[in-house]
């Protein structure tokens, strides 16, 4: 394997990872399913590109503005739709994602459906990794904080958490907004990695791909999302030799993994050295464990 090629996949996995981290907070920790995150990515991507191409801002501030604009849009949408329960919110986000894409299809100033070439290539493996690590640290700290616990409480039992005094609407809003920032920044990096943007890249398929990664990695697990993004972004590349059967094999692999681990790769657990030690020792002392009447 050539480094140039692997580097490309890693950058792409890192970009997906960032979007997945945001979605993980919303879906895995707050219990809201979204099928419109590609829409937030699109907003972030186009805003970042406008900032760096038309207004000549440096890359990092452009990314931040991209994330902020995505967050603003999410606030607007959240205000209108977060009172909807369960599936209805999911459908509202689905509509939002498609609407954003169709609006971009019609904005000729940004290239319309024909796309926008000539965006400077500023995304490198280094800045992707740094941004990813910052993203993970923020998310881990958020989830360990009081606010994170409130979000988890909402996921587990919305009614009960309302009764004990958690402002459900507000926390859903915060969760949606943070996930939109992540998606927006990821979109901005994608645009500056490809050097080309086209609304077609942010179709509903992209949204479902992100949701699949979150579920595949395991709901309520950040390390699961990280693992999921790495595995599911590189899997189609590893399967290139299958030519037209590639995506069929990809689908079968995902189905098989989901059947064998319905809770996802890491479902609800986090990666820690302590847990690894436990797994390894339990593998060696399987007999003993059985004797003690373990699992």
């Amino acid at each position: 394997m050539d480094w140039f090629y692997i580097q490309g996949i890693l950058i792409l996995a890192g970009i997906n990872l960032l979007a997945v981290l945001g979605l993980s907070l919303l879906t895995g920790f707050t219990g809201l399913f979204s099928f419109g995150h590609a829409g937030f990515m699109a907003i972030g991507a186009y805003t970042t590109a406008i900032m760096s191409v038309k207004l000549h801002l440096p890359f990092i501030p452009s990314l931040m503005i991209g994330g902020l604009i995505a967050a603003l849009v999410s606030l607007l949408i959240g205000k209108l739709t977060l009172n909807l329960k369960g599936d209805y919110f999911c459908i509202a986000t689905l509509g939002l994602g498609e609407a954003i894409r169709l609006i971009l299809d019609n904005v000729q100033y940004l290239g319309g459906a024909r796309g926008w070439p000539g965006i400077p290539l500023k995304t490198t493996l280094l800045n992707v990794v740094i941004i990813d690590i910052i993203g993970i640290i923020i998310l881990v700290n958020l989830i360990r904080s009081k606010h994170g616990r409130n979000m988890i409480a909402i996921r587990e039992e919305e009614m009960a958490s309302q009764i004990i005094g958690i402002n459900v609407f507000r926390y859903k809003m915060i969760s949606l907004m943070i996930s939109a920032i992540y998606a927006g920044v990821a979109g901005g990096m994608l645009g500056h990695y490809l050097g080309f943007l086209q609304p077609k890249m942010f179709q509903i398929v992209k949204s479902t791909e992100l949701t699949i990664i979150v579920i595949f990695g395991g709901l309520g697990s950040i390390s699961g999302s990280v693992l999921g993004a790495l595995v599911l972004t590189s899997l189609p590349e590893m399967l290139r030799t299958f030519a037209q059967w590639r995506l069929v094999v990809y689908g079968i692999a995902v189905i098989f993994i989901m059947i064998s681990r319905p809770q996802g790769l890491m479902g609800g657990h986090e990666f820690s050295f302590h847990a690894v030690k436990k797994i390894i020792s339990s593998m060696f002392y399987r007999k003993k464990q059985r004797g003690l009447g373990g699992r």
Binding site: F4, L194, F196, E237, M238, T241, L247, S260, R261
Partner: protein
């Protein structure tokens, strides 16, 4: 316990798939490099093998493989056997970038043929420039594939004419030859190809003194066009320009005739397909198509027959352009007398070859085939009947 076994099985599957996928392409260059200079040169192809454009992608890949088998039988490129490596992009720009990265860095191809869609062709150019490998796009008609902001992209070439040209030909033929004054446009707002053709048809038709009486849009995936067509009917056009793909063309043409619209239909290179005739034979009777070539041209018959004999399928439009892309590459390699990608690129800049879709003279300024005639085709009794070669001035 059971869970752990499943987990173990999963990791085994992952590792096996890793090895299976990782080893196959890696093995070949190793054996080749042992003998010093590799005896096999590789040519890449990318395009959609899956997704809604899979029919075209598969036809392109089949054509490219068939062509290089013929070239190999005749002794190969400069005495070296050619191996074709085709990767799927499922119509996605990011996938196309991945595929090109793999082709250029791992497989070390001397040139890439494809993709057929402009969005992918534009996205891959930065990788091509970094790795210095030329690419010949087949049916990517967006002008920005080879030229952005007045600067030509050093490693992007194509063998098809571009959207402005196609739009100009359609407008010119409708206004000058057919003598129409009032045109309506129905187009796909979510499709880059359709937007491009619409823009340029409108521009040139008005320049020719015509009038656009209605311009209605739909979005990919729509199946009901009656609201838009009713509006078009009210404006009473003489010709309706339909720059989108055959499936929607068939549906909208049928619905237009149902509504009693008698105007002549006109379309671009998204039309030609057997499916179109199957679905809307009567509705599109008398329509005009701007195409890359005349399907019944005697020079085309050999290729058509050979393809049919080998794959037992008829050639799609993309096959002809893939054929020309291979011819162009062969000519450039022979001219450069080298298998070095940069030397091939330099030769491509001034290459000229007699292709199946016409004379291809690559222009150094635009990397497009300049002055390539379009073929005007009329639908008569469910057959594509060639009218004339037409070029827009």
């Amino acid at each position: 316990m059971k869970k752990r076994i499943m987990y173990f099985m999963f990791s085994v599957v992952m590792i096996v798939s890793l090895i299976a996928a990782g080893c196959t392409p890696k093995g070949t260059p190793d054996t080749g490099q042992k003998a010093g200079e590799p005896e096999v040169v590789k040519v890449g192809w990318i395009g959609s093998l899956t997704g809604d454009q899979a029919v075209w992608g598969q036809c392109e890949l089949n054509t490219v493989k068939m062509m290089f088998e013929e070239i190999n039988a005749k002794g190969g490129l400069l005495g070296k056997k050619v191996e074709v490596i085709g990767y799927d992009t499922r119509g996605d720009a990011t996938e196309a970038v991945n595929a090109v990265k793999r082709l250029t860095s791992q497989d070390k191809v001397i040139a890439i043929i494809g993709p057929n869609a402009s969005g992918q062709a534009i996205a891959i150019s930065s990788v091509l420039e970094e790795m210095k490998v030329p690419d010949i796009a087949t049916v990517a008609t967006n002008p920005k594939v080879t030229v952005v902001d007045g600067k030509v992209k050093p490693f992007n070439f194509r063998v098809c004419f571009i959207d402005p040209y196609q739009g100009a030909v359609a407008a010119g033929y409708a206004a000058d030859v057919l003598g129409f004054k009032k045109a309506a446009i129905l187009y796909d707002v979510a499709d880059d190809y359709s937007q491009g053709l619409t823009e340029f048809f409108e521009k040139y038709f008005i320049e020719k003194g015509g009038q656009i009486v209605a311009k209605e849009a739909f979005k990919s995936g729509d199946v009901d066009f009656r609201p838009q067509l009713s509006k078009i009917k009210e404006s009473n056009p003489e010709v309706i320009f339909m720059p989108y793909f055959f499936k929607e063309v068939a549906l909208s043409a049928n619905q237009a005739r149902e509504l009693g619209i008698n105007a002549v239909f006109m379309g671009g290179d998204g039309w030609p397909s057997d499916v179109l005739i199957e679905m809307a034979k009567d509705a599109i009777e008398g329509s005009y198509i701007v195409n890359h070539l005349d399907f019944n041209d005697p020079e085309v018959q050999d290729f058509k027959a050979a393809y049919k004999a080998k794959y037992n399928k008829s050639v799609e439009l993309n096959g002809y352009l893939a054929y020309d892309a291979v011819k162009l590459l062969e000519a450039a390699v022979n001219k450069a007398n080298s298998l070095d990608p940069v030397a091939i690129r330099d030769a491509l800049e001034t290459a000229s070859v007699k292709g199946i879709t016409g004379q291809i003279n690559i222009s150094k300024e635009t990397h497009n085939p300049e002055g390539k005639d379009a073929a005007i085709i009329k639908m008569v009794n469910g057959e594509y009947v060639f009218q004339q070669k037409y070029s827009a001035k």
